[in-house]
Symmetry: C2
Subunit: 344 residues, 2 copies
């Protein structure tokens, strides 16, 4: 693989840090690594391969000499800076800002690697919740054409960044001695930074912003990004929900296909699929849990079972590390794909 | 209302304690209250209306002089003891042992009160997860005939009793200082009493026992008990999932009806329904959370929205206190119904 100079924008955030960890583990040959962040991180360093690398504050010159940039920033930062650098370097963007643009490929290397070839300086990295659904759905769709998906998510707080993780831990510390108040729902906490309701000991059916029909941006992303990556018109009805876990998103999905499909056939397809680990032996209590999916590179899938009322339909539960395959790992895999295929 | 002598079997358990609290709050006129428990609780007392009431160890004589018994025990205790007392006293059973028997009414007073009339000494109290689905589903079903439900649950640990609550708190105490291990999924804990995997910081798609098709007993209960109470053949595909919360079960549901139904019509029906609180104004961040549902008597429902791909279908999210309406409160409401209607 060709040696490259990589920059990571948002290198001090939850996903940015994970990108650095994954780059440490993988085979990418680096001519250099440049961590970039906002002025708030001026003077900071980030650890990388045993060294403390100083953070470069974002500016147009910060990208000089770089071949490839991985962006892990809020949408507004990507929107502001991408036009200024897109002609000079190849960008992999983990924000949701450009994912549905027609001239921006949205890529999962195990599923649609070819679509990356036509990039115009920008490849988008998909949403982490969508990834939890997509990884098991893609091989099943290829075999039996998914017509309709109804799914509900179980999303960890790290999906909302470092602020989400801090909210959960701070609230847990405060509420652990208050057992009776928690039991009675009489919880009085200062507002968190990431969530509008307390997240400790709670389930919040709200991820992203609401549109006028009462659907969240996260729910729309699950539907539209899945359809774009699969290149299909599969109907997807998603409900996205935050739960008090740190890392690992879960999805409970029901899928109706164009033809009858037995759970055994689905398991065989999932077992053979890249980027998926089949964990499905209920008799021995083997099924995916979100904690088990944390720190591993593949999406775990299990609880595969037929819908007794519909021979064309299956249910499954999948779990995926939202910081790794759901974000940082997939971005690094896109980088590897572009380098390996000479598509830079 | 006629004055009665009530016994509570399992009075020292999670639901039994809640029955006592609810009896303290309500208008039932008691000639006496007898807490009954297993020999393990011999010598214990339970607090009731300012007194410490001694626990009676279960035996046939323990039921002498009692009019009505509320049972909050494991299935096997109900199966052993019910035949011995069913001819002498009227029983309300919160176990799942008899719920689907043809001669045992399964009753939610707001939904099917009339079915309690024909009881033969035994009325069954339904499952707490089913209740979270049923309370909003029933008024919608009456108006538009629900043909199909696909739902996923978010169940608190108190659904697994005191042992479940203890597991969560003990694991949280151990894991709070271990942030990096939690983040990496490298959690090494002794086995809990209630769950086969760690529940702190985890999502576990397993509630109850698995059948040969890989469906859990809880998933079967959600389907079969809903159908029995609604008196319908609605097809229900449920996935039941444990999350690290203490009290309050959530359900994310998608429902297809026999005719088109607008979200506004559904909201009007839910607003008018007994036992349901509509909490549905996303713009002001109002929707049900499980913590908000804790300690209140009604099921909360919100996130009501149409499926853009199917005019006959709606999604909603509901939350319900699994110890109150999901168990103890409904049992006390059945007792009140039987006393009020003179059906004892």
């Amino acid at each position: 693989m060709k040696a490259v100079h990589i920059a990571v924008v948002g290198a001090t955030g939850a996903v940015g840090r994970e990108v650095l960890r994954i780059l440490e583990e993988r085979d990418v040959t680096l001519l250099g690594l440049r961590p970039i962040a906002s002025a708030r991180s001026e003077g900071k360093t980030v650890p990388f391969r045993g060294e403390d690398v100083p953070v470069t504050v974002i500016s147009e010159r910060a990208f000089d000499g770089v071949d490839l940039v991985i962006w892990d920033t809020p949408d507004e930062v990507a929107v502001e800076w991408m036009p200024k650098v897109r002609d000079r370097v190849v960008n992999i963007d983990n924000s949701s800002a450009f994912r549905l643009y027609e001239d921006v490929p949205l890529v999962v290397p195990e599923v649609n690697p070819e679509s990356a070839r036509a990039h115009k300086g920008l490849v988008a990295n998909p949403n982490c919740t969508m990834m939890t659904l997509l990884m098991p759905l893609a091989p099943l769709h290829r075999a039996a054409n998914a017509r309709r998906v109804i799914c509900s998510s179980y999303q960890s707080v790290s999906g909302a960044g470092v602020a989400g993780v801090d909210d959960l831990y701070e609230q847990l510390e405060k509420l652990l001695p208050e057992r009776e108040a928690v039991r009675r729902g009489l919880v009085d906490l200062p507002p968190g930074r990431a969530f509008v309701h307390p997240i400790a000991f709670n389930v919040i059916p709200h991820v992203g912003g609401f549109d006028s029909a009462g659907t969240t941006s996260e729910e729309r992303r699950v539907a539209s990004e899945t359809r774009k990556i699969l290149g299909s018109d599969t109907e997807i009805f998603a409900t996205t929900v935050r739960v008090p876990t740190v890392v690992g998103h879960g999805i409970s999905a029901w899928v109706e296909f164009e033809r009858p499909i037995e759970a055994d056939e689905a398991r065989a397809l999932l077992k053979a699929a890249d980027g998926v680990t089949l964990e499905d032996d209920p008799k021995t209590n083997r099924y995916p849990t979100t904690l088990q999916s944390s720190g591993i590179d593949k999406a775990m899938v299990g609880r595969v079972r037929n819908d007794p009322a519909n021979t064309n339909a299956l249910g499954f539960f999948s779990a995926c590390d939202n910081l790794r395959k759901g974000a940082a790992l997939n971005a690094v895999q896109i980088a590897e794909l572009l380098i390996d295929k000479n598509w830079l």
